[in-house]
């Protein structure tokens, strides 16, 4: 085991895969020579060469398109889109080609592409460096969608994504790169070395797709969340004095409805939290699944804690960001006696 932050864990995942599988190729803007704007690919071009770690022009459509062709022809490309906010020039290739190739060719062809991209706020990125567009991609059948909340899962899920035969959109909550974050920007940042999930094996291991994790068992209510919000939810629940069971979804598609619903059946109360905008957010899907499966066990209406239905405002990041205070409101509603 080693101590790693999320950046190092992701780097280690790619290092392991580049070393094990000659089909793995990394590509993206400023990822090789420069090491990536968040240093996630630092040193990998030096170690494996420019034919394994490719610097690309600023051309997200071209990056995704080339990755599809490479993947169809036997490679396992891992493409970085520098910020999730820049993924849209590649959106046509992702939805119309990458997601549908297997279905369209009735299984003859497929493209095991992994697209890594940093998402979320908390670094004062403003409107164009803070988005959480996961629901845009979970709505496209044929794509798998992951979002880890800690270094251990980040490495294991990224390895699993690269080895998976389907295309994966892999979101990296950028606020978590250097440490867990409980939602209070005024507090000094705590590093991953203070967190058990900062312990990461150096070699190969997988965290399976389609498995949620109960990060904390509890009896009062279930909080279903992923990414940065997992940590904020835990802090908010303990501040409210609630014994919350916290489910880290990790894998949005495929979704582990069993783990989520088993928890909600047990507690009878549920809050769903994500940083993305509320309307048609992934929380709406979670809520539907839980309602369908757990309706007769619910003691109160399910609540959602989310970002606002606005772009991320530049100066009011922490008002937009789903704060512990916003959780407290949801807790009050969901904890009302039945």
């Amino acid at each position: 085991m080693a101590q790693m932050n999320m950046t190092q864990a992701l780097n280690s995942a790619m290092d392991v895969m580049l070393g094990r599988d000659p089909a793995v190729v990394l590509m993206g803007e400023d990822i090789g020579y420069f090491g990536g704007v968040f240093r996630v690919t630092d040193g990998l071009q030096r170690k494996y060469g420019a034919h394994r770690v490719l610097d690309t022009p600023i051309a997200e459509g071209g990056i995704v398109a080339a990755a599809i062709g490479m993947a169809v022809n036997g490679l396992r490309p891992v493409a970085e889109i520098q910020f999730a906010d820049y993924i849209y020039p590649g959106f046509d290739q992702i939805t119309s080609e990458l997601a549908r190739l297997r279905y369209r060719s009735a299984g003859d062809f497929y493209a095991p592409v992994t697209i890594r991209t940093p998402c979320g706020g908390g670094i004062r990125g403003g409107q164009t460096h803070s988005q959480s567009p996961e629901a845009v991609f979970t709505h496209v059948c044929g794509l798998k969608v992951l979002m880890p909340s800690n270094p251990y899962d980040a490495k294991g899920l990224l390895i699993a994504a690269i080895e998976d035969d389907d295309p994966v959109i892999f979101f990296e909550p950028k606020r978590l790169y250097n440490g867990p974050f409980d939602g209070d920007p005024a507090k000094p940042a705590s590093p991953w070395s203070t967190h058990p999930k900062g312990e990461v094996p150096e070699g190969h291991y997988r965290v399976p797709l389609g498995k949620a994790e109960i990060v904390r068992p509890g009896r009062d209510l279930t909080i279903v969340s992923y990414g940065t919000m997992v940590h904020v939810a835990a802090a908010a629940a303990s501040a409210a004095g609630l014994d919350a069971e916290i489910v880290d979804v990790r894998s949005l598609v495929p979704l582990d409805a069993d783990t989520i619903c088993e928890s909600v059946r047990k507690t009878g109360r549920c809050v769903i939290a994500h940083e993305a905008t509320r309307f048609s957010g992934f929380g709406a899907e979670l809520l539907s699944v839980i309602q369908e499966e757990c309706f007769w066990d619910l003691q109160a209406p399910i609540q959602r804690v989310t970002g606002w239905d606005t772009p991320y405002p530049h100066a009011f990041e922490w008002e937009y960001f789903p704060s512990p205070a916003r959780f407290a409101t949801a807790f009050r509603t969901v904890m009302e006696p039945a």
């Binding site: 020579y33 690309t56 022009p57 403003g126 606002w308 100066a315 008002e319």
Partner: protein, 329 residues
């Protein structure tokens, strides 16, 4: 560089250009300092070294023309006449900012100046400029559209789609490529098979030339000629303005991709030094003039900072405004 030699048309002309460039330099240097003081937060891209491009170009354009800029656009906004205090307030995130503090450094807008925004998405401004120009043509306006973008933007599909549409429909649009040799940490020849950007434009049958972007007179003359031709119905044009950014890409850039000596060599032929030396050599200005303009620029920046400091924040309850129109059809 195929433009004929251009120069100052007299003392007032020289002073105006120098004033414009000194304002931007003083503004950017203060932004750098304010960033260190955490008054300005988030992403910040400074324009030091490229002042001659914005100042020369804006002087050659008309007040009615439409401007589309990049995320490195403080200089474009200031040269266009967006009030400095409102630009500074925007960087602070205050309600008195030119975009109510909603956008910050990369998203400056000003409808009165027909300044259609900075844009943080590389190359996203080009298609917007094409649309603006098409509207100008269909509505028979005398105005044209000028669109700034970086050398990095030419790799995006939007660049190619935009050039083709502009040429196909003979639109009144002037593409201004600020070639500062790097896109973030990547030198142009690492990402472009054809590094001659003007040659790319010619491939779309667009009139194109490379210009010394460190020489404000050359920029002004080239933009003036191109704008006149476009206004006369000649169709679109592209100018590749060869320039250099003196500071880091953003505030988080260790600059491992270039040598200090390269930066210093460019600084020695920087646009302000070149202009000042020339105006003095031609006897158009004195050292006192220079000092006075510098002091004026610095005073204007002081006033802008004071304005931003005392400006109000937007009420949080208002932050949901402007997602949609306030009145539905």
């Amino acid at each position: 560089m195929n433009a004929p030699a251009a120069g100052p048309a007299g003392r007032e002309h020289g002073l105006a250009l120098l004033r414009g460039m000194l304002r931007i330099r003083a503004f950017e240097d203060r932004c750098y300092q304010l960033y260190g003081e955490r008054k300005i937060r988030g992403f910040l891209h400074l324009y030091n070294g490229e002042e001659a491009v914005a100042v020369g170009a804006m002087r050659a354009l008309d007040a009615g023309d439409a401007i589309v800029a990049t995320y490195r656009e403080h200089g474009h906004a200031l040269a266009r006449g967006v009030p400095m205090d409102r630009v500074m307030a925007e960087l602070y995130g205050k309600q008195s900012g030119c975009s109510r503090g909603r956008g910050g450094s990369m998203h400056l807008f000003d409808v009165a100046k027909r300044f259609y925004g900075g844009n943080a998405i590389v190359a996203a401004g080009l298609p917007v400029a094409v649309g603006l120009a098409l509207a100008q043509k269909l509505r028979r306006e005398p105005a044209i559209t000028a669109c700034f973008f970086g050398d990095g933007a030419v790799a995006e599909g939007e660049f190619h789609e935009s050039l083709n549409l502009a040429a196909l429909w003979r639109l009144p649009v002037l593409f201004l490529c600020e070639n500062n040799r790097y896109a973030m940490g990547t030198a142009l020849d690492r990402t472009e098979a054809e590094t001659d950007i003007a040659a790319k434009a010619r491939g779309y049958r667009i009139d194109a030339a490379a210009v010394d972007g460190m020489d404000v007179f050359a920029v002004e003359a080239a933009v003036g000629r191109a704008a006149a031709a476009i206004r006369g119905g000649a169709g679109p044009a592209l100018l590749e303005l060869r320039t250099y950014r003196f500071r880091a890409h953003s505030m988080f850039d260790p600059q491992l991709y270039r040598d200090k000596s390269e930066v210093e060599a460019w600084q020695r032929k920087g646009p302000l030094i070149t202009l000042t030396t020339r105006l003095k050599a031609e006897g158009l200005i004195t050292e006192d003039d220079f000092r006075r303009l510098e002091a004026e620029a610095s005073a204007e920046v002081d006033a802008a900072v004071a304005f931003a400091e005392s400006a109000p924040w937007e009420p949080v309850a208002d932050l949901a405004r402007f997602v949609y129109a306030e009145r539905s059809a």
